[in-house]
């Protein structure tokens, strides 16, 4: 046994990885030289196909990807409350529109085109003629109207889409014009609406019965125990098999509406397989054992893979910064709870509401060091609330480095003074506060330690306390008894309005100055008022160019007022086997957004 163990240990010892060289900067330009040409609409024999413009490939083969966790909870795209279920059901059901992988603009999918009226309230959708569901029945306007009217506006399944579409307490309306034309009307011009048209469309003849039986029946419809051969879908791949806790297997949908330039029906690959993997470590092992074809690498693994890449069968792609943003936030709350007690100690309130204090903290934080040490250099410093790949990112806001002198100067201006390397405010109170984050998130815990050190250089006393996630959420959204927190949020790179709950002064996640529903907009600060205005106006304008200035301004306000100090965004690095061709990485849609166009060439 001992011998066996030694042999095992020996076999498992990784030959020491070469020291990470400084050559980790990816040749982004080289990667994107072959620009992706989006598919075009073509009509053959009265059928409106989508025609792929990428090089023609070979048919056959399979692609193995993975999903972390316990696998899908449902295959119903209207009832998926977790990311895995949403991804896996999304594969089977296309929406009317998709998202261009480069520009982020809406592109045709089930719809061949759309028109927005000049008043910005009416959206006319032109459906493809002659395309079919996987069971051969035609896809028509009835399916679209059914999906929107009965399922989404009917409040079945996951209602978050419906909730986001209430404009002045009214929902948009949907109307069938003819078999292939649908008209949506919003009560007011409402720009985010066009994005919601990427929502999957359900086949009426398949969903109807479940929809009629009400909410509880709908929740169990298309559950993971549904027989795959009974499922009617529209995506490039249809479900073949689901093995609990092991894998989800899809096969090509022969009725898919995309063709290549030789007019052959896509997708190229016969099978698409998602292995259900319990954790990140197992995913890495499976990739190294060649059971997986693609993997998203953690920062700490990138250096090793980069050195392995030249003599391996995979290639690394840099997809750019993620949509997740890490930030440090102050509690600006200066109100009392029902018992007449302040949520935040009044002494601390004075510090946090002082813009000089907040700016001083900001300049004391060493973002570059955080990126270097925590993300192993695989990340970018962040200064604005919009993620770095957002199409609304305000690029005029300058980056800056740590500047302790400036911090000290600002603190001095507000009457803070340093005695024995300890910072006191003008009333002689020692500057000391708690910094919270959720325990167990090693990344945030490490950031906390670094920020604590940075702030101690200013003489502040920081009590860094990682606490359990749920207790932290409770503090942030209901009891409001916290000083500073390190958290992260995931936003949409396409639609800043999705974060309105964070920025509107009465938003449900307006954490830095959260108000109870009873308080409404009590004690609103001038710049909070401006944020309210910008977010309301930004949603009403319909054209990208008209909306951009509003969202530029909102980023500028956060950048100067600093209620939340943004720290950094990790960068996504993917590895994929070289045999897969037609790979056009997109920072918005990921590496395999064009899965139907990907083919194998050994």
């Amino acid at each position: 046994m001992l011998l066996l163990c030694t042999i095992l240990c020996k076999a498992c010892l990784v030959k020491d990885t070469p020291a990470p060289d400084n050559d980790l900067k990816f040749q982004t330009k080289e990667q994107f030289t072959q620009a992706y040409i989006p598919p075009k609409n073509v009509t053959i024999d009265g059928i409106d196909y989508l025609q792929s413009q990428s090089p023609v490939g070979k048919f056959g083969g399979e692609f193995v990807s993975s999903t972390i966790g316990e696998g899908p909870k449902t295959f119903n795209p209207f009832n998926s409350k977790d990311a895995t279920s949403a991804t896996l059901s999304g594969i089977m059901y296309d929406g009317l529109l998709g998202t261009d992988p480069i520009s982020g603009q809406p592109v045709p999918k089930l719809a061949k085109g759309y028109k927005i009226s000049s008043d910005g309230k009416t959206y006319t959708i032109y459906l493809r003629k002659g395309i079919k569901w996987s069971d051969g029945k035609p896809i028509t306007a009835d399916d679209v109207v059914f999906t929107w009217k009965d399922i989404i506006f009917g409040g079945l399944g996951d209602t978050s889409l419906r909730d986001s579409l209430y404009i002045d307490d009214k929902l948009p309306s949907v109307k069938k014009i003819d078999n292939f034309t649908i008209e949506f009307t919003t009560p007011k011009p409402y720009a985010p609406f066009i994005r919601s048209l990427t929502q999957s469309i359900a086949p009426k003849h398949y969903f109807e019965k479940a929809v009629k039986s009400g909410n509880t029946a709908f929740d169990t419809f298309l559950s993971t125990t549904t027989k795959p051969e009974n499922i009617v879908s529209s995506g490039a791949f249809k479900l073949k098999e689901y093995v609990p806790a092991q894998r989800v297997v899809y096969e090509r949908n022969p009725n898919y509406y995309e063709i290549n330039t030789n007019d052959e029906k896509l997708p190229y690959m016969n099978k698409l397989i998602y292995l259900i993997v319990g954790d990140l470590n197992n995913e890495v092992l499976k990739f190294e054992a060649k059971e997986l074809d693609v993997i998203t690498l953690q920062g700490s693994k990138v250096a090793r893979y980069k050195t392995l890449e030249p003599h391996s069968d995979f290639k690394l792609y840099n997809l750019g910064p993620t949509t997740s943003t890490m930030y440090l936030s102050f509690n600006l709350n200066n109100r009392k709870n029902d018992k007449g007690k302040y949520y935040v100690n009044p002494i601390k309130q004075k510090w946090f509401s002082d813009i000089n204090f907040r700016t001083a903290v900001d300049y004391a934080v060493d973002r570059k060091n955080i990126v270097f040490n925590i993300a192993n250099g695989i990340g970018s410093p962040l200064y604005t609330p919009e993620s770095l790949n957002s199409i609304y990112l305000n690029k005029n806001l300058a980056q800056y480095d740590k500047d302790l002198e400036k911090s000290k100067e600002l603190l001095k201006k507000s009457g803070f003074y340093i005695k024995d390397k300890k910072l006191y405010d003008k009333n002689g109170n020692r500057v000391e506060f708690d910094l919270l984050t959720n325990a167990g998130n090693t990344e945030r815990e490490a950031i906390g330690v670094m920020i604590k050190q940075d702030l101690e250089e200013l003489g502040m006393k920081v009590n860094f306390k990682p606490i359990e996630f749920n207790s932290l959420v409770n503090k942030l959204v209901s009891t409001f008894d916290w000083d500073m927190v390190i958290m992260g949020l995931t936003g949409s790179p396409l639609e800043p309005n999705g974060a309105k709950n964070v920025w509107l002064s009465d938003g449900r996640l307006h954490m830095f100055n959260m108000r109870t529903p009873k308080e409404g907009k009590k004690g609103i600060l001038p710049w909070e008022k401006e944020l309210d205005y910008l977010f309301n106006q930004g949603a009403l304008a319909t054209k990208f160019e008209d909306r951009k200035p509003y969202y530029d301004k909102y980023q500028e306000i956060i950048y100067t007022q600093k209620p939340m100090i943004y720290l950094y965004s990790p960068v996504i690095i993917n590895a994929i086997r070289k045999k897969y061709k037609n790979i056009y990485p997109s920072s918005l849609n990921g590496l395999t957004h064009n899965i139907e166009e990907i083919y194998i060439d050994e």
């Binding site: 076999a11 449902t74 209602t159 319990g278 092992l285």
Partner: protein, 324 residues
Amino acid sequence: MNDTFKYIIKRILQTIPLLIMISIISFFIIRLSPVDPLAELKLNPSVSPATVERESKRLGLDKPIIVQYGKWAFSFVKGDLGVTSTGEKVSKKLAERIPNTLLLTTLVILLTWLVGVPLGIIAAVKWKTPFDRILTVLTSIGMAIPSFFFAVLLLLFAVKTGWFPIGGLTSPNYSEMSFWGKFCDIAYHLILPVFVLFTISLAGLQRQMRANMLDVLDSDYVKFARAKGLSEFKVVYKHALRNAVNPMITLLGFEFASLLSGAALTEYVFQYPGLGRLILEAVLKSDINLVMASLMMGAVMLVAGNLIADILLILTDPRIRGRA
């Protein structure tokens, strides 16, 4: 026999208050822990407060804990395990995984008993010979290695050599295989997890058997049997073994209890589609119905295991039969 029957009924009745207590303690511990099943939802910017409230109502979180417990207990007694937090039937979820776990654990238990008991006997008979000593060293190592560590080592071994699959139970093209192909595929995937569990439980069993046997071999009646001139074979296998096996039957009862829960850690490392992963996730998400169902299942299995062991003892040992 009538007495035995009465005894069994008595034992079953005794378990009822026990199960009630277990269920109350578990339920309250889960619900009073600060894990909020809706925390993730609350922190999602695109989810409206109305939805959070609706979810809270659906999961029954808006009611006092005691009411929640009452509701759960009532449907449990009726045989309804309820639904998971995502709306799937708990019984269905468990049914998906139980066969896989049983396959792994029964295989391991069979193997360990078939190998461990004879090895224990041989070691005892050949007490203090080199064979016994080597076996003692080997089992010490077997007992000392933590199962998850051993499992991780073997997984890395599989990656390096490519000889074994990286966890799971079946290959992606399993559904297209012939019957024998399927059989071999499953066997191929089972080798490593079975090996880990086998080496670890073998050590304990072998030592237990050896100790029992040594005790018995040292007793007066064995000495008497030897003095009487019986052959060594008869002494060991007819007289000593029957007495040495009694404690093993109690042990078998515990093995029965571990049928469903004993392999959780190894299952997790090998990404084995058994109960372990399902329940771990349920605990992390505070999915109360699923957690409660698995805890109750564990409790019932333990009680049943003990009962079975007691019954077996009554059957094998006339001395106990008299007392019961």
